[in-house]
């Protein structure tokens, strides 16, 4: 009895590992293919059976892309937008969340409910009037449009408030008795305590700004303003037969996200999990 049970358990284990191995392979193939193709001549990219490690890696692809498209410019634009949006988001969200969580004022609940309600409304439903507003303000084809669009999200306020709710009120009371102002409490007590939440918000905002597609597509039509996503898209549709170069540019566009992701991965997973449970 125990023997067959044991055998059954081992068989299940083997099956699970086999399944997972196949799944992991399927997940990784596209990246391996991307990396491998980025070092090939166009004519070799589709050779079949494929050569996983190119015999004569063509490193020139990684030199050429910088001159064929203003890739440096695109990366600079995207990095600039992502950093500014993330900083503004962290600052204004944690600031507002402090009041929503630890201060008492009239209209607090109504205001917070308003924030929550808008999280569920798809941005696509009001992107047209938003564009008209931005154009009226003379912000079409400026980076400012993207910054203003992304920097004041209700989601950030919600996420930070959830975290602050877990910080005991007595901590703030004690600090008040010690003579610290509310701004002092926010800066000296809440911010240092909320590092995990700030990290989660950082990675969410950075990655979503870096990867945003529709926003820059609507607002940034001049080449020198474009972000890496729409710049890369432009390159792919213009030079659709430059397989090697397209893959090299793709590799370059993914690298910053890989770095941020691997560095802050722990917080990302925690963030997804906690927003999921509390949402």
């Amino acid at each position: 009895m125990t023997g067959t049970n044991q055998g059954f358990k081992i068989a299940t284990k083997v099956l699970i590992y086999a399944l997972l191995a196949v799944a992991v392979f399927c997940m990784l193939v596209p990246y391996i293919w991307m990396l491998s193709s980025s070092l090939k001549l166009n004519k070799d990219v589709f050779s079949f059976p494929m050569q996983w490690i190119p015999a004569n890696p063509r490193w020139e692809n990684f030199q050429d892309i910088w001159t064929r498209i203003p890739l440096g410019r695109f990366i600079y634009n995207t990095a600039k937008l992502s950093v500014i949006v993330t900083l503004l988001q962290l600052l204004t969200s944690s600031f507002a969340a402090y009041a929503f969580s630890k201060l008492h004022f009239k209209g607090k609940n109504v205001l917070f409910l308003g924030y929550i309600a808008t999280i569920a409304i798809p941005w696509q439903a009001y992107m047209v009037p938003q564009f008209i507003l931005m154009r009226q303000l003379g912000l079409n084809n400026t980076h400012m449009a993207i910054i203003l669009l992304q920097a004041f999200s209700a989601f950030g306020v919600f996420l930070m408030r959830q975290f602050y709710q877990g910080v005991p009120d007595e901590l703030c009371e004690a600090a008040r008795i010690d003579g610290l102002s509310e701004y002092g409490i926010w800066a000296k007590i809440m911010l240092p305590l909320s590092k995990p939440a700030l990290s989660t918000l950082t990675i969410f905002t950075f990655v979503s700004t870096w990867n945003d597609f529709l926003g820059p597509m609507i607002y940034l039509t001049r080449t020198e303003l474009k972000t890496i996503q729409i710049g890369l898209r432009m390159f792919i549709s213009q030079y659709s037969a430059e397989y090697g170069l397209i893959m090299a540019a793709s590799v370059v566009s993914i690298i910053p996200v890989v770095i941020v992701f691997l560095a802050l991965q722990k917080y990302f997973v925690q963030g997804v999990a906690s927003s999921g449970i509390k949402g």
Partner: protein
């Protein structure tokens, strides 16, 4: 909450402003930086979306109030119907497929397994990888004549390459291709949500079930599924809403340099984008946006009702 303000000892010396007023000003100063931006760039456009839906406007000539004309026009607009239909088909394909795969992965990766964290990272990564880049790779790998997928299928099945599916370029297979891509790209995100849900289940429930002689399937059916109900409702809601908002995936998998989609691949947000930013028909585009909003709102309400009824 209001009691507390009243109860707080009024020992602060009288200054220019009373303590209550000063407390309020401080609180509002915390909210203001976020709220002002939020109000101008989110609340105001939201409000105007409803106004715009009832006017005819090209952005330069004077606005013209036309009542429900935009909506009656929608009822007859077969292109919009096609976009709505495609969006629904896409949603119906993506939602159950993603949920099943994400839950299966979460259960597998919740056990003590070698390289568990590495595997979680591998499954999660496509969610953060830049869409334009991974869509380009997919289009190459699934390229009808040159791509490795069809070459391998040709080797295995012996079917001539011309007779194999042309994937993204094929009217019949386009929807399947985009659904497969979406599941591949996003399942890791939902896997993480499910993992958190699984970790919240009390292990004693499983021990009790095992003592009662429940096999693995019964434990899944009678412990995991009911315990995960709140997580499942959340995942369901986010998945449906995200599927209705889809645009960038379709453009990157299907559109050429002109960013146009055809009848078998157009979706609602594409239709809104084109009507507003290409045809400059802002009023009509807003009417479509209102339909999108109402659909998402309706789904949210139905799911909240469902959660109350079937969730704990």
């Amino acid at each position: 909450m209001q009691n507390e303000t009243v109860l707080r000892p009024k020992q602060a010396p009288k200054r220019l402003l009373s303590k209550g007023v000063r407390d309020h000003l401080v609180a509002y100063s915390f909210i203001a930086p976020n709220f002002i931006g939020f109000a101008i760039f989110t609340l105001v456009p939201m409000f105007f979306a409803f106004v715009l839906a009832f006017v005819k406007w090209d952005g330069s000539n004077p606005m013209e109030f036309i009542g429900f004309d935009n909506f009656t026009r929608l009822i007859k607009d077969t292109t919009f119907h096609k976009a709505l239909w495609n969006t629904i088909v896409y949603t119906v394909g993506v939602v159950p497929f993603t949920m099943a795969v994400a839950l299966a992965l979460a259960i597998l990766l919740n056990q003590k397994i070698i390289a568990r964290n590495f595997m979680r990272t591998v499954f999660f990564f496509p969610y953060v990888a830049s869409l334009v880049a991974v869509a380009a790779v997919w289009n190459f790998i699934f390229s009808p004549t040159m791509g490795p997928v069809n070459n391998i299928l040709h080797l295995i099945t012996g079917v001539p390459i011309e007779d194999l599916p042309r994937w993204a370029a094929d009217k019949q297979w386009a929807m399947f291709t985009v659904i497969l891509f979406t599941v591949w790209k996003n399942m890791g995100y939902y896997m993480v949500i499910y993992l958190a849900g699984l970790q919240g289940i009390n292990p004693e429930l499983y021990e009790a079930a095992e003592l009662d002689g429940a096999n693995a399937w019964r434990r899944f059916r009678n412990v995991t599924v009911p315990q995960l109900a709140p997580t499942t409702f959340f995942v369901l809601m986010i998945l449906v809403i995200n599927s209705f908002k889809v645009y960038d995936i379709f453009i990157n998998l299907f559109a050429g340099a002109d960013n146009q989609l055809n009848d078998s691949t157009r979706v609602m947000v594409y239709q809104i984008y084109n009507t507003a930013f290409r045809s400059l028909d802002y009023g009509y585009a807003s009417a479509m946006a209102i339909v999108l909003f109402l659909l998402v709102l309706g789904i949210t309400i139905v799911q909240f009702r469902g959660e109350k009824k079937y969730g704990q």
